[in-house]
Amino acid sequence: MNMLVTPTSPATPNGTTRPQVRIVIVGHVDHGKSTLVGRLLHETGSLPEGKLDMLKAVSARRGMPFEWSFLLDALQTERDQGITIDTTQIRFRTNSRDIVLIDAPGHAEFLRNMITGASQADGAVLIIDALEGVRDQTRRHGYLLHLLGVKQVAVVVNKMDRVDFSAERFKAISDEISAHLSGLGVKPTAVIPISARDGDGVAERTDRIGWYKGPTVVEALDALEPARPLEALALRLPVQAIYKFDDRRIVAGRIESGSLVAGDEIVIMPAGKIARIKTVESWPVTPVAGRQGAGRSVGITLDRELFIERGDIIAHANAAPRETRRLRARIFWLHDKPLAKGDQLLVRSGPKESRATVVAIEKAVDPGELSSSENKAIGRNHVGEIDISLSNPIATDPYTENPRTGRLVIEVSGRIAGGGLVLSVDAGQRAVPVDIVPVESALRPDERSARYHHNGAVVWLTGLPASGKSTLAKALERRLFSNGGSPILLDGDTLRAGLNSDLGFTAADRSENIRRLAEVATHLARNGHIAIVAAVSPAREDRAIARRIADTAFREIHVATPAEVCEERDPKGHYKKARAGALASFTGIGNDYEKPEAAELVIDTSKRTVAEAADEIEQMLKSSGVLFDEVVDLAANI
């Protein structure tokens, strides 16, 4: 037996092309999706010859009454279980459209398959059983259509025969689902009463629904518009790869929005480097003249050799995306383990990938529930809003400004675990100065980490004067170096002698002192070194700024030696001078040291030896992914 539904040709031999629209049928399990599809194929004359008779014969042989849904139950396993497992693609025609129908399973277990199907759709049909009304999966699918960016949604109220074609029942359901959808910003294109089994409302307005004046399902499908390429928006060309197969250096990618032509001045984000497009390359004819628009996979060469890598975004210089290390997203979550604050993820935005940390869960709800009870973590098949911090800056747009680049996908352990829309990007105060062209290192991070056996990090030792920060910093430096690593000590006092010699001890100068320390340390960390900063850094806000600069590379260690021990040690004689009133703004004898609230490690040096304290720091660096014993899966650390 062959279950194939014959495709119809979208491109007819005489060269005319009918608009092709991809649609998905979604809704609660058993509300009649497969039956509607079977009926649609029949009504539009799309069934292969003899198919209906064959299926009727098979049904008779199995002693079952014929059901329209059998047409779709292509896999034997599905027939046995009586549910549709996965998305199948079936084609048929209405008067003016070629429809590619992507079936999507209603069973909650298969939400990932529903999402796989629906993400490819230009429009959707949301089906509701007239008897059962709006159910949790109906609401969930409605919500996901919104998150997936499917804007054209037709609602069908099926099984009207089971409610005696009651106009009142229809209106009640229509009102409820319309309210739910408009709450999500989705306006249904039609709400249609049907009986998929008997055919009412599918291709014909029968007498039994004589009170209904709107379009039939086939007419509603006929009115759907195919997705348009986003040519009117600003240029976004995410870089998939750089090819050097011959003497050309071709930057390859697909134009997600806007258009480009040879001669355009472009900016490469997030680095902000400027260049001009020299040629647009192709094959077999190259180079190509003329403008290339959104949707095209292209290759370009530039007028100068710049370091470009996969994941960069090429834009026009006056309309570049924002560079950010922090963004808020509205996401759906498909992973078994709920997503919680502090979780480490891999975020993909087009070809760009970046490790990320969940900084906050702002919302976590089950979109199937009527009352949205808030949770701390986003459970499987639930949705939420999260703030994430990225270890590499990415260039992105809010989805309201660019639906293609304003979305991202989340991976856990190499498997897609969720996805969603970028709501806002926190570009900070750092505007991108396009006339500054930072020079990229010739080395990749993984080359350095392979040599040093560690990732770059900023180890920030904070504590009272004489608490033991410098002693610990030097012990740690020695130990990391002995193991083949690349530690660099940044002592606050040492830097004050040079780089920071223009700074005094006012609050503003102290803040600037810390900011510079953090910037230098972060630069070292990004280049694979472990920067060990020993600085009193008494202000919590200043340390918070340092953490923001160094981001996921930051490891704060509170050297929490009791104040009286510190004063007793007093190796530099500072406490003595301060007590004598000879040292203004000295931290230690007042109450001006603000203890860290969430340091990665707290060490009291009065209770352990230097070696023991260094052990603890080493352990913390291992468990938090800075140090690694073996060179395992370096790719995961990039």
């Binding site: 040709s9 092709q20 199948t88 990932r112 998939q240 697909r254 070809p351 996805g419």
Partner: protein, 298 residues
Amino acid sequence: MHLLKDDSADVGVSSPAPIGRSGSQEFSADVAPSMDHLDQLEAQSIYIFREAFARLKKIALLWSLGKDSNVMIWLARKAFFGRMPFPALHVDTGKKFPEMYRFRDHYGKEWDLDLRVEPCPPIDAVDPTLPPAARSAARKTEGLKMALAKYGFDGLIAGIRRDEEATRAKERVFSPRGLEGNWDVRDQPPEFWDHFNASPPQGAHLRIHPILHWTEADIWAYTKRENIPIIPLYLAKNGKRYRSLGDQDITNPVNSNASTIDEILIELEQTKVPERAGRALDHETEDAFERLRVAGYL
């Protein structure tokens, strides 16, 4: 049209006609030419090829010599500006039509392919409980497993299409295979917005399907537009033609008078006979095809 004709020169090859593209490239600097259906399919396939090449370590393209895999090679050359930067793997049952072998040897050279021909094990080595045609096809699955073990590919590019057969409609673009090369249809990862799961477990591999979204008619329309060479068995001779080419002993021609690609396109408009109707293995039992796919058949 650019054909490998039965009756042409000794090698069985005609020289390529000049490329005649139908107005899809308007050379204006102001407005980008709009993309037609084939342009969209092409751009999507190129995107998939580039993702596979960027994200996997060692890939190969499965070249069955048929119309679909020829289109794939063409698309790969578009993606990589003229050359396919990974091997073309032909898992050879030894039972293909002579025209197919001639085609392989000629275009393997002309297209500068890194061609790897790998044999299949003898039929006795294959599960005897399968029906005869399925058993024959399963031989190819074994040959493929041997090639995988030999080269250690982590990704194989295959020219299957969703419209071919209902089982294939359930495929992902990047489709993980188990350690035995098997396909777990019930536990497929989600795939959306052209983000693909590209991390196969240690020892397993991925199937990559760059033309999953194409139809049979798309393949022919594109073959015509791009002037891609084909094996002449696809064109009708004496009222018969092959719609799909497999092993000689398990592939049958269909009744047809379509002797040009245009005529094939018209025929496809009208027919309601499935493409793989000439493939014996699809018809043996209701689940023969599914059993094969679960076991790693293409």
